[in-house]
């Protein structure tokens, strides 16, 4: 059995990274030209790493499934990006950002990794500003910040409700700069379908050219996955429809361990489901909870127009339950509280599955213009989708699948258990524990890509300066390509009657009902049984029209859905073994008298790390113990 070595350096927390970094081996500029690196994904993490490695002089090959790297799903992040600049003089610091993330993650993240993410956060903001990212500024010309859930300082930098777009376009510009210089070669419209292992090391990938259907072999000295999360396992989620787990999953099947798969964030403020053909839930940024107040009627099943319900008849349940943080409690707490009210019969809207997010008080106090300046594009988006004007009546919102804290297990170098295979950004598990705080996703992705990976990967590549080009004409590539080709043929030849989207929708419902915001042993077991049945049905009744040597979107979808059955099963396994409630993982069996999550530090202060054991075998669980040296592990209270 492989032993997990997180490679956390010794020494005081605040000095770990700088000491460690100073001792990492380097590759000299002449040798860098002889080294190839593959990066899959062009979000903030992937495109950031590609630009940074290109600047250093490596030969970089970058892959994305979209027609342009600018469309990676980082583009849709709305609210902001955290940094410990302390521009508001509210006593913020790297330590406080670190502490907030550890607490927000419900004490299930690694101290050293989180501290490092906080440490590089200021460099990230400076770099974006230097690249011309138009963060919001105050009248004196300095960068402005705003508050976000789960913290008591104002450290979130933003560009209206389009911070992700602006950060990604900044990163895209640095990527373009390297493409123009010839250090980075861009391969758009490619799906990565397998990772190739040669003599125990990741040495390449198999991709499918989405326009021609051709399978391609790409070799390199190291492979970096920056392929995002697997939140689309719920079908309805805030993610882009192309987001998927397949690249990370192919690595898992090849031996990369997968950590905390059940830790998946349900975002509290998304626009609720409006029709049966909906395939996407649109997020309303968490920043709205700065000024919006969440409420439901005090009377069960009150169907009156919200504006007719008087102040005395409203239950501002977050302010009532969590007076210290009020509407700005972390996402997991806010989501469960909304579900609790709706399940108890107080929900609003036709389905009773939504709550109000009301800006009346903020508009009365600050004026409509101030609110428009801060959230204009979000309000417009809401009106386009629902046909309702949120300036004159409250928004309706409901939780939706959003972000996966779980992901490929990585050590301090961001390397998976396969040597030479790295995972950065959302695709790894390392920084957010059991719940991610708002605006730390952009921060972690950019930190991983621009500032951490480029240093750690050189230490690994230093051994490859004499290796020479990795040939693609060798058995490992042939075999991997054949496996991919067989899988495609298998799906094409089923000739069934049901579409991939239809299977995906059914799969998503099973996951939402059995492995969603609240879980229990019985439900999880039932969910696994249903998943297995559905998977069997999939392989006898999936319908993929057209042929595989062409642009075939149905084939692309079917390949992704096929992997999601396995993702779902592993999520259930993990949720089942974790007999506690922590962060986004809430087990009915483990709650306090007041319905709050009950953590079990004595037995579950570990990372649940899963090893693939073959298609027919149950995966093996490994445990990476979490030791807290610098933070006192406490009950996480926002009251």
């Amino acid at each position: 059995m492989q032993k997990l070595d997180s490679k956390i350096p010794d020494g005081p927390l605040a000095e770990k990274w700088s000491h460690y970094k100073a001792n990492l081996r380097l590759v000299n500029p002449a040798n860098k030209k002889k080294i190839d690196v593959i990066i899959v994904g062009t979000g903030l993490a992937g495109a950031g790493a590609a630009s940074a490695l290109g600047e250093l002089g490596y030969n970089v090959k970058v892959f994305c499934f979209q027609d342009s790297p600018r469309r990676a799903h980082s583009v849709a992040a709305q609210g902001g990006i955290n940094a410990a600049k302390n521009y508001k003089n509210d006593n913020d610091s790297i330590y406080r950002l670190f502490h907030d993330m550890i607490k927000g993650g419900d004490y299930r993240a690694r101290e050293a990794n989180v501290y490092r993410a906080a440490e590089v956060s200021n460099d990230v903001i400076d770099h974006f500003t230097a690249m011309g990212v138009p963060f919001a500024r105050d009248y004196g010309g300095s960068l402005d910040t705003r508050s976000f859930g789960g913290v008591q300082v104002s450290r979130t930098f933003y560009a209206k409700g389009q911070t992700g777009q602006q950060c990604l376009l900044g990163t895209y510009s640095s990527l373009n700069r390297q493409i123009a210089k010839g250090t980075v070669k861009m391969f758009p419209r490619r799906d990565m379908l397998d990772v190739v292992i040669v003599d125990g090391k990741a040495r390449g990938i198999i991709t499918r050219n989405l326009l021609t259907g051709e399978l391609e072999r790409h070799a390199a000295h190291a492979v970096v996955l920056a392929t995002g999360g697997y939140g689309t396992v719920f079908y309805l989620s805030t993610l882009g429809l192309g987001s998927n787990a397949s690249a990370a999953w192919s690595a898992y099947r090849k031996g990369a361990f997968f950590a905390n798969p059940s830790f998946i964030q349900i975002h509290p403020t998304s626009i609720p489901v409006l029709n049966d053909y909906q395939c996407k839930l649109t997020l309303m940024s968490e920043s709205l909870r700065n000024d919006g107040r969440v409420w439901v009627p005090k009377e069960k099943g009150d169907k009156r127009h919200p504006n007719e319900i008087t102040e005395e008849e409203r239950d501002y349940y977050l302010e009532r339950r969590y007076p210290a943080f009020g509407n700005l409690v972390p996402r997991d707490v806010a989501s469960r509280a909304a579900k609790e009210r709706c399940d108890a019969g107080y929900g609003v809207g036709d389905t009773g599955l939504s709550v109000y997010l009301d800006f009346k008080d903020a508009i009365n106090k600050q004026g409509e213009k101030a609110i428009r300046d801060k959230y204009g594009n979000l309000f417009e988006m809401y009106e386009k989708i629902t046909g309702i004007n949120p300036y004159t009546q409250p928004m309706r919102i409901y939780p939706a699948g959003h972000y996966t804290m779980g992901g490929l297990w990585v050590d301090y170098n961001l390397m998976t258990t396969i040597p030479g295979l790295y995972a950065i950004g959302e695709s790894n598990f390392s920084d957010h524990g059991a719940n991610r705080l708002g605006a730390s996703s952009l921060m972690q992705c950019s930190g991983d890509g621009y500032f951490i990976l480029p240093n750690t990967i050189s230490d690994y590549l230093a051994d490859d300066i004499r290796t020479g080009k990795i040939p693609t004409e060798q058995p490992a590539f042939e075999e991997a390509e054949k496996q991919v080709a067989d899988r495609i043929q298998r799906i094409m030849s089923v000739g069934g009657k049901e579409t991939a989207s239809s299977f995906h929708k059914r799969l998503g419902k099973i996951m939402w009902d059995h492995c969603g915001m609240r879980r229990d042993a019985e439900g999880l077991k039932k969910g696994m049984e249903l998943l297995r049945q559905l998977e069997e049905e999939f392989w006898t009744n999936i319908c993929v029209p057209g042929n595989d040597k062409d642009l075939n979107q149905e084939l692309e979808k079917a390949l992704k859905v096929a992997d999601f059955f396995e993702v779902g099963l592993l999520m259930c396994e993990d949720a089942l073994q974790r007999e506690e409630s922590c962060g986004a993982h809430f087990r009915e069996e483990h709650q306090t008298e007041t319905g709050e999550a009950r953590r079990d530090d004595a037995n579950f202060a570990f990372v649940g790390v899963w090893e693939y054991a073959g298609a027919e075998e149950r995966p093996r669980l490994h445990k990476e113990a979490l030791n807290y040296e610098y933070v006192e592990v406490k009950e996480r209270s926002y009251k």
Binding site: S51, E55, Q66, D67, S68, R70, R71, V75, K85, D123, D126, H127, T129, A130, G132, P134, A136, R137, D138, Y139, G140, G141, S142, L143, A159, K160, Q162, G164, Q165, Q166, S173, S174, N176, R177, I179, A180, M186, L211, G240, L241, G242, L274, N275, Y277, C279, K280, T282, L283, E380, M381, K384, I385, G387, Y450, T499, S501, C543, P545, L551, Q553
Partner: protein
């Protein structure tokens, strides 16, 4: 609701395309335009026909993937709205809806409603960036930028690269697309250093890709889903002429 859909079908770049008509019943006014097409595709697949291929991803108006020419307008009838944000309640019950891909020489059709926008990539690669390496950045607040300018920079930077401006223009001009990026950097100290070279190389690339000139019809601004102003084209032209008058280019 029910509709008659006239959709451009084209097998690939080498074959000729044509309009096909599909009647569609039981459409909900709550559906987005793309959900309506999903619904059509589900029926086509179940009837053993090839579904309509179109691009999409985020479905919330920010990634810029989708872009259909609907009833003669890029992204359809609603202003400041991408195709994915458009909802069927904006159409009349029983209406015939004509759906085409972007039409421009610089955006060749790949299949059905999908076009090749890689010409846009090459314009950005020609100079749509600030030459700054990781690690070179000064402290963020060392270069103050007034709020009014910062807000204007944001307005220019809001472009999603969908190509609606080109599709709207009778000359297939990409001036608004290029100008938005050029203006974003020309207005801030970080971008000013290389402003002259940038406008020169990006405009040159734009011409090389076969995009047309601007004849001031403002159709691009009118149909831009992010409402990007043609003022930026004026700014780009000023930058362009000044780069010619007082060249700082090396060599």
């Amino acid at each position: 609701m029910e509709f008659k859909l006239k959709i451009w079908r084209q097998k690939n770049a080498r074959t000729k395309g044509s309009f096909q008509t599909y009647p569609l019943k039981d459409v909900s006014p709550e559906m987005s335009f793309l959900e309506m097409l999903d619904y059509l595709n589900k029926q086509l697949i179940e009837q053993g026909q090839e579904p309509v291929t179109f691009e999409h991803d985020c479905r919330e108006g920010i990634c810029g993937s989708c872009g259909l020419f609907i009833n003669g307008r890029p992204h359809g009838p609603q202003r400041n709205t991408t195709t994915c944000e458009l909802h069927m309640r904006e159409f009349r019950d029983g209406e015939t809806i004509v759906i085409e891909p972007w039409r421009s020489k610089a955006f060749p059709v790949i299949k059905d409603l999908v076009v090749d926008r890689s010409s846009f990539e090459r314009i950005m690669q020609a100079g749509g960036f600030v030459n700054v390496n990781v690690g070179c950045a000064p402290e963020s607040n060392s270069n103050p930028i007034g709020k009014l300018i910062a807000d204007k920079v944001f307005d220019a930077a809001a472009c999603i690269g969908c190509g609606a401006c080109v599709a709207a223009c009778k000359n297939s001009s990409a001036m608004l697309y290029a100008a938005a990026k050029i203006a974003q950097y020309a207005m801030i100290p970080q971008g000013k250093v290389e402003a002259k070279e940038r406008v020169d190389t990006m405009v040159k690339q734009m011409d090389a890709e076969g995009f047309g000139f601007c004849s001031n019809t403002y159709a691009c601004e009118f149909d831009c889903p992010k409402g990007i102003s043609t003022d930026f084209i004026a700014l780009m032209n000023r930058e362009f002429f000044s780069s010619k008058l007082c060249s700082q280019r090396h060599g």
